[in-house]
Symmetry: C2
Subunit: 422 residues, 2 copies
Amino acid sequence: MPAHTPETLAILEARTREHYETFRARGLKLDMTRGKPSPEQLDLSLGLLTLPGNGDYLSEAGDDARNYGGTQGLPEVRRLFQTMLQAPAEQIVVGENSSLALMHDCLVWALLKGVPGGSAPWSKTPAPGFICPVPGYDRHFALNEEFGFRPLPVAMTDDGPDMDAVEALAADPSVKGMWCVPKYSNPTGAVYSARTAHRLATMKTGAADFRLFWDNAYAVHDLTPTRHAIPDILTLCAEAGHADRPFLFASTSKITLAGAGLAFFAGSPANVAWYLARVAKRTVGPDKLNQLRHVRFLKDHDGILRHMAAQRRLLAPKFEAVLAALDRHLGDLGQVRWTRPEGGYFISVDAMDGTARRTVELARALGIALTPAGATWPGNQDPNDRVLRLAPSFPSVEAVRVAAEGIALCIRLAALEKLRAA
Amino acid sequence: MPAHTPETLAILEARTREHYETFRARGLKLDMTRGKPSPEQLDLSLGLLTLPGNGDYLSEAGDDARNYGGTQGLPEVRRLFQTMLQAPAEQIVVGENSSLALMHDCLVWALLKGVPGGSAPWSKTPAPGFICPVPGYDRHFALNEEFGFRPLPVAMTDDGPDMDAVEALAADPSVKGMWCVPKYSNPTGAVYSARTAHRLATMKTGAADFRLFWDNAYAVHDLTPTRHAIPDILTLCAEAGHADRPFLFASTSKITLAGAGLAFFAGSPANVAWYLARVAKRTVGPDKLNQLRHVRFLKDHDGILRHMAAQRRLLAPKFEAVLAALDRHLGDLGQVRWTRPEGGYFISVDAMDGTARRTVELARALGIALTPAGATWPGNQDPNDRVLRLAPSFPSVEAVRVAAEGIALCIRLAALEKLRAA
């Protein structure tokens, strides 16, 4: 925004506040806090509710999916997801409904047992460091906090994390891992470039047992007809002589059912052997009926893509509604920027510095729940009080349209208050 | 067996060996290693394969069971199992298909975070001690081994563990926990008496954060019309001023489907709050569709009991077949004893000392796979080489009859070999 006189700013603020108060009078109650699928999205998978179906419990190999066993997951379900995961079926392990749970387990096993290539459990390193691209996923950072990792924020760019900063941090032997959401990163929507992935695969790390926690949560979650491809990190790392560096994670939480999907771990043969040895102590086998259900329902990789195209038709209009409102109300405020993601579940807004918390507060007064300001930073501490994560998936398009309008007004009002106070 | 002359022993052994060789000629292939439900038992729950059913995804409270959330589990599923668990619904947490997984998680969280009443994570205690009634469950002991606990074997009696030994061990502040399978204990079938439970609840422990891992795996798994009752350990501990002492576990693995059931954690309000705080870092919620499936299928506690009566009709004849064979072939060998369990999944045989391994070897040559000798002891080390765990659930009654005959012969042959060598 060009520099305004105090008088002009006062007029702009008054006008925005009037608009805001009109909104408040509507007594809204809208929730834009979490990347939660809408009921209409879940309806796309209604078929799962009667599957695997009458008497259908034998796997392709003739194993009884109702019984114990099958720790790695049925071969047919590992094959079904190998393209999506960019990993061969034999290097995939299928878990229960939450990939977060698999990341949790890898962290605790790394702490208590160590990982291949390491000389000691990670818990022998006091406050092991973990590289955290910011803004990032709050639940990743919460795991770091839970288990005493030292979070090391690095800035995200459009191509992925700032690799100069990553390389500098990774050189420290006490730095053990790094979060990566390589495609449609949570929350900025950035897609890791080939160059970023190459540097991640080849960089020197101080710790021989350093791990990329490659959370490919949005592998097939495109919002446009363009299916962005991300680098094959398993192969890149293997070629660089660091085959054991990446732990891959994914799930069907945002493909089929958020609460009743499948989660996946993948990695090098050594990592898979390590994972299987650990998980075999934890359980006598995963829910293979849910695996059969998914095989019967999605059938093959094309089936996954068709299903995701239907998801896109429900999601894209909501993202467009948010972007339209931001364009309309904030286009003249140069200090406010936002992402135009081509996939994933979030729009990330850089509000004017020092106004993110105020924006969330203003929105709450409108009856619009936003993700708490700071949530995208470790310890919920956004040093610039800048980032807002908008999650438009759950409410109806109409509700998102109204909410986006309200949120844009709040961002604007907070910015104008700040400018006038300056 | 009355003392025999070497000549008589040689004749008995030769006769048994002849019988054994006849058996070997049959070229059997039978598996009696694991407490795995049979296909017929799993068929009792075929109804689950099409549940929750078309469009049936709303919980009693109107929540969408397909979506994220509901960390503690649906209230209706917690109510359904509260009688079985002997815990109020609000003190129950529902997890995925494996109670072993919940025990694993409690152990790792105790190690890394500590438990209510503790002043430090258990990992601060070098090689924390864990009391292990023997013979016991191999997967419990494997968890101890995986995470560096010091196993402390105590003898089982018909009333539960030898409580004098337990109390002496628990007085040591470095002893943090104890395995308990209170009903139809794995593998002896013992049912903890009121007196045992009372002593467990009231005993002085050296560690303020000592925990009973109360694995009520066979809560409703009766093999006779008698439904043995076990003491309500939650109340007993609370009355003794040790409300936080017990962690309760159970699952439907051997009620509905071994690979697709529900698992439960229960405990004091403080323990439940602790568990929920931990598990909320691990997952955005359990598979609530599987919870709905179980509610629709089992309906209420009477439904569970009816279902278990059907299980009993399938299981009891297999146990009877094994006991008949043991009676027939080993009745004259006073040094061999076995349990007559009224519930659970196992018959435990005390073979003649120093012959358990040999028995397993002889059985293998017959084509009968037995649980490895030693498996019921920590580290797979049975100091007397005595205990054999027989698991008759999986094969058909006919197969169990044949296998039991063969196993009895092997136990007898191993004993006679030993007697003659003595």
